[in-house]
Symmetry: C2
Subunit: 383 residues, 2 copies
């Protein structure tokens, strides 16, 4: 494999693995893809530890870091601390969650020490840590990367990737100077827009090409090498994946959730604002059903909704781990529609090798389809 | 091009064009693809006239017919006539529609003579007409084809295609004995499920392969040859398209709607029950916005909702044609997310030629990506 981005980053396969788990980063990069560590849940000190561990284990292979730096969020510009933000969560919302947990046999209260997913200055501090390590790529998962990210990355000569869910956003990103655009379809786990991968990728490729020579990666529902081949046919230079790593041996996904993922079909996800305050796709569960019900309160803006949902769901995972049925019904995590094809636990390296093999088969299949094509093209026959 | 289905049907390019317009059927089939006439809005007599015209103009090229024969519908098995069905539409729904039209400056009433989209015995009669013509294919757009369709088609040696929006439905169809499965993603115009094309196609291909050697076509958002190449990479043998023909020179789409399609982005569609009673994707407009609003009545079951919405929207088209702004705001028609890439009016033949050319480019691009691949596969390098 050698799309230009492979040569640019020194990777063998244009397979980008977004993960919160350092072991997956190392395994993927060593197997020929590129691991990208999601930094959102780390403090700057924790991120430094994670990246130091990666540097010690990755054998010099390239890897990236993904920072969550949205353009707007509740409390922005005010340096509001977590406790103040928590105090803004309405009593109605707190009561809805504690009732929901109680209905599922969970009477103990979640701890209330979760950090907000975004806060003033956090992105800058995380980025400063990341740039102190030999990263090959920095990404922003939400919106146009803030100026400081683009500026610092340019200074360090490190490419900036940005995720988009709409053609119009891709145009904005390309003009803002990002180096890699990830066109993420509606079927993706985590934050996502409305347009499907099959439609979004070609339209983003075309729109971006009019502005600059910026590689586009396809994301959304991609868990196989066939889909990587399809993405390249659509004009992408590679694929950005997330869900598929959640059921690897290395991942730290809660075991009850892994079991649910392996059993889930592609119709068992839901796109909802009820986890972070912005639309994100996750496994359907008693938790998401409750938030979709007519008597549920409206989700709060980011990061308030996360300050409400994350501690509760983390607590649910702990209780589910003890085998309690109610907690297992509630348990959920972000995942894309590709979950329907995630049916076994493999090592992250084996997932990379499977991608490579399935990709090669798909290319062969496509070539076979054109093998006895007429010289000029099918339609020409009857022109 | 020569996927097995091309050889089976005697076509040059595995491009299936679903359309209600006989001119598009003829143009596509003559250009190397295969036109499939949607019979849903014709009486048996009208269908016979359409097919006779096609036979006279298509120069012996293959074409197909699509019958809408859902497994269940309101009034099924009771031979209820259209007037009786119409009488079941609640006053609240009628008032909602007339208020909506009035708010948009339309005071004249739509005519109330629309036939129901489905009715007892209609499928059989349409099919009988179709089989009296030299059709190469018969399709059912909704659910498992009824027994009579499978039986009569087998007798005549004509392959039966069926559209599915979920893997589980594909399995049911394969077991029921259909010959071609169309895996239609959520981004498709018209009736569609929740799973995207990028995810649905590979999982349907895998599931069907375990049952029988049945070709799968990809559908949903497909308006370019690149997407046809992607579909073949995913394991499909070709593509089933609909939206892309609505802006061809031959199509009978209402001119105001064509103008809206050309201007629309991929985010301007909505999946709603408010047109037919089952989920279908259409252009977002003042009409769909109104039905999505909290004060809208719940959509009625099929075919009642269509008996309410079709005459109203047909009337809207007529008034929009006179240039009235309110009617133009309401105007809508079924279309998929691919509408964002439908930016100019072309002849149907040119669309076929564009598909062929874009397909060839995409295959070349995919091959270039593997050109200097390591012999065994990328991941093997570091195994």
């Amino acid at each position: 494999m050698a799309t230009p981005i492979c040569r640019q980053l020194g990777i063998d396969l244009p397979l980008f693995a977004f993960t919160h788990c350092r072991d997956v980063v190392v395994a993927v990069s060593k197997a020929g893809g590129i691991g990208v560590l999601g930094a959102a849940k780390f403090s700057p000190e924790e991120l430094d530890q994670e990246l130091t561990w990666i540097d010690e284990h990755i054998g010099g292979r390239p890897y990236g870091v993904d920072i969550l730096a949205p353009a707007t969020f509740e409390g922005q510009g005010t340096h509001t601390d977590a406790d103040e933000l928590r105090a803004r969560i309405p009593q109605q919302h707190r009561a809805f969650v504690s009732d929901l947990l109680a209905e599922h046999g969970i009477s103990s209260a979640p701890s209330d020490t979760t950090r907000p997913l975004v806060e003033d200055g956090l992105g800058e501090r995380l980025l400063e840590v990341a740039f102190a390590h030999p990263i090959a790529l920095v990404a922003n998962a939400l919106g146009v990367p803030p100026d400081y990210m683009l500026r610092e990355a340019k200074k360090s000569g490190i490419p900036v990737a940005a995720l988009v869910g709409a053609k119009e956003h891709a145009i904005k990103q390309a003009r803002a100077g990002v180096d890699i655009i990830v066109a993420q379809g509606s079927e993706a786990g985590g934050h996502c827009g409305e347009v499907s991968t099959m439609v979004l990728v070609p339209e983003v490729v075309d729109a971006v090409a009019e502005i600059a020579d910026i590689p586009v990666l396809a994301a959304g529902g991609i868990v196989t090498g066939r889909q990587m081949a399809a993405s390249i046919a659509l004009g992408a230079q590679g694929v950005w994946t997330g869900s598929v790593w959640l059921t690897t041996e290395e991942a730290e996904t809660a075991p009850a959730t892994v079991a649910k993922f392996l059993a889930a079909t592609s119709r068992d996800t839901v796109r909802s604002k009820a986890r972070t305050g912005k639309y994100s796709r996750q496994l359907r569960s008693a938790w998401t059903d409750a938030w979709e019900s007519p008597n549920a309160p409206s989700p709060l803006p980011m990061p308030l909704q996360g300050l409400l949902s994350e501690p509760a769901l983390r607590h649910v995972d702990v209780v589910a781990e003890r085998g309690e049925a109610g907690a297992r019904e509630l348990a959920t995590y972000w995942v894309g529609q590709g979950v329907g094809m995630m049916t076994k636990v493999s090592s992250a390296a084996d997932v990379v090798y499977d991608f490579a093999e399935d990709f090669a088969d798909a290319v062969e299949r496509t070539n076979a389809a054109v093998a006895d094509e007429q010289p000029v093209g099918a339609g020409e026959l009857n022109r």
